[in-house]
């Protein structure tokens, strides 16, 4: 018995230490970003980034919100993308999954494979890009171009479908006897019953839209339609390019965004996720474990 408790103690000590270190390492970057966004610029330049601000300054935020138009516009675009994409995407995913989960639908396997095959083989990004730009004119429709391409994901459809398949037939049978059609059964019964899985899927869809910079990068030409992440990327990459030229040539090439301003932008772009995270995290975890049963 003595050896057993010793080994337990060893395991617990190393285990707690190991997990604690990893947890701290996971959040340190966030602390550093937040801390440097409220640090005075000269302190960053002299001492570099630190975990606790050496010299507190709200200057970076004052500067960003001194000319708030661009930031607010980007925020508006991202909020629009996220809300429109999540509502539409969730409804369409659920509706598609519902049809594929109906046992009396004899063609369900054929259609499932029709969707599934797109994950096995793709034409690559070039034909996709040409189609979007030349035939769908996405470059002229930034509000559509930044929402539509992510509306469906085969992976999400499969997760929702397997959840709906597990709902007992008895529930829908009685509705059917009462004369309810397939669409009504979906809206009034299956959709509400699938709330647990739909909540998680909605969160993952929303995070995808919120964090997206790629569709702006591909299709958006006017800066007033840039999504928040792409706007942030533009600021950062301009600064890095200037910095690179400066260090190669040794010449001063112009004023670049200050370090603390860049970090404040990163905080502003990530803020809502961090704020909502503690409340929503359990839905994410639930979604993952539902999906893990059979991805």
């Amino acid at each position: 018995m003595a050896t057993k408790s010793t080994s337990n103690r060893i395991f617990n000590f190393t285990g707690y230490t190991f997990i604690a270190i990893l947890s701290v390492l996971s959040v340190i970057p966030f602390i550093m970003i937040i801390s440097s966004s409220v640090t005075a610029e000269r302190s960053i330049l002299r001492y570099g980034y630190s975990l606790i601000p050496r010299e507190f300054s709200g200057q970076a935020y004052a500067k960003i919100f001194g000319f708030p138009d661009d930031v607010f516009k980007a925020y508006g675009i991202t909020i629009y993308n996220t809300v429109a994409g999540t509502i539409l995407g969730l409804f369409l995913t659920a509706m598609t999954a519902y049809v594929l989960s109906r046992k009396h639908f004899a063609w369900r396997n054929k259609f499932s494979f029709f969707f599934y095959f797109t994950t096995l083989f793709s034409g690559g990004i070039v034909p996709w890009y040409i189609l979007c730009v030349r035939f769908l004119h996405f470059k002229d429709m930034p509000l559509i171009a930044q929402v539509v391409p992510y509306l469906f994901s085969v992976f999400n459809i499969i997760i929702v479908k397997s959840f709906m398949q597990a709902i007992p037939d008895a529930i829908t049978e009685s509705a059917k006897i009462d004369g309810a059609g397939d669409f009504r059964i979906f809206i009034q019964l299956i959709f509400p019953l699938s709330k647990p899985v739909l909540a998680s899927i909605a969160l993952f869809i929303a995070i995808g839209y919120w964090n997206d910079w790629y569709l702006s990068f591909m299709f958006v030409q006017k800066s007033s339609y840039f999504s928040l992440q792409f706007y942030l990327y533009k600021i950062l990459s301009a600064a890095e390019a200037l910095n690179r030229i400066q260090s190669l040539s040794g010449n001063y090439v112009g004023e670049m965004p200050k370090e603390n301003v860049k970090m404040a932008m990163a905080v502003i772009a990530t803020g809502p996720i961090i704020l909502l995270y503690p409340f929503l995290q359990k839905y994410f975890v639930k979604g993952l474990t539902i999906g893990a049963v059979k991805g």
Partner: protein, 308 residues
């Protein structure tokens, strides 16, 4: 013939509502997935903007010939493969270790809080991750270099040393995704029959023996399936990750350029659409072949887990 047509139309009528509900998805996947599949023909054309897909001249395999003669495609393929193998090894080892340790620890609050902390990076955009990487590593004011300078050591120019980026990208990828994988493995560990542990305890097994003799062997199926599934994507790279973490820095292409960044960059900068499409098709065919191969392996291992 007539009767089968008859039942077809009967079914069409019977499934009217269901088919109508399926229509948005069908249109979506035809437009965004199936039409581009036919669009691969431009890989065999000298694509011009005026000619478009229907009137550009056919040139057979010329695009592929130039693609492989230019040589870049082989090095980016090698990079893609190398990174994915490293990701699979590093991430899985880290995730399995964390899951096993978390499952054995008893403090509920510690477990919940640490899991939340480890899962957080998963929700951050690659743009922000890229910004952070740059601020830690850059030559003038990066955190590491200011630290080195404060100790009177010479600053290290990360953006001039392509080799070290293999390590950096593997670390960044692990940092961002290991919380996610840990949760998946943790749910697998929790699914192990508790009676086995009780029996082992009665037999006097200590915690290390329990992990080695019960937990690890019970996890093998999950590990095999997850690893085999990720093998299917071994020729795909996460464009956002590679593009943002390196800041698309040309100095680092030799060790950080993967097929996806190579293709996307060519698409945005080069007028040779045909050749870029050829590179994309080359990747799709590689992926398809490898998925087929690994699906065959999964099927042999356990039929229930095969993809189709």
């Amino acid at each position: 013939m007539k009767s089968s047509n008859g039942t077809f139309f009967l079914k069409l009528k019977k499934y009217k509502t269901l088919l109508l509900m399926l229509t948005p998805a069908i249109i979506f996947f035809i437009v965004f997935s199936y039409l581009p599949m036919f669009g691969v023909v431009i890989a065999f054309q000298r694509y011009t903007f005026d000619g478009g897909i229907f009137h550009s001249p056919w040139i057979g395999l010329e695009n592929f010939k130039f693609l492989f003669m230019a040589g870049d495609i082989l090095s980016v393929t090698r990079n893609t493969l190398l990174y994915n193998v490293l990701f699979i090894i590093v991430n899985n080892v880290l995730e399995i270790t964390c899951a096993i340790v978390l499952a054995e620890l008893s403090n509920k609050y510690f477990k919940r809080i640490s899991q939340s902390m480890m899962f957080l990076p998963y929700f951050i955009s690659w743009v922000v991750v890229g910004a952070f990487t740059y601020n830690v590593l850059n030559y003038e004011s990066g955190a590491i270099n200011t630290l080195l300078k404060s100790m009177n050591l010479e600053a290290f120019d990360f953006y001039n040393k392509p080799g070290i980026w293999i390590l950096i990208i593997v670390l960044v990828c692990a940092w961002k995704s290991f919380g996610y994988g840990t949760i998946i493995y943790l749910s697998a560990v929790m699914g192990i029959d508790g009676e086995m542990y009780d029996a082992a305890e009665i037999d006097g097994a200590n915690i290390f023996q329990r992990i080695r003799r019960i937990t690890l062997p019970s996890l093998v199926p999950t590990v095999v399936i997850l690893v085999l599934l990720s093998m299917g994507n071994i020729f795909r790279g996460d464009f956002s990750m590679f593009y943002q973490v390196t800041g698309n820095n040309p100095m680092l292409y030799s060790s950080t350029d993967v097929i996806d960044t190579y293709v996307t960059r060519s698409l945005m900068t080069s007028p040779e659409f045909g050749m870029t499409a050829a590179a994309g098709l080359y990747q799709s065919v590689l992926c398809f072949a490898i998925i087929m191969a690994f699906n065959y392996l999964v099927k042999r291992y356990d039929k229930d887990y095969s993809l189709f």
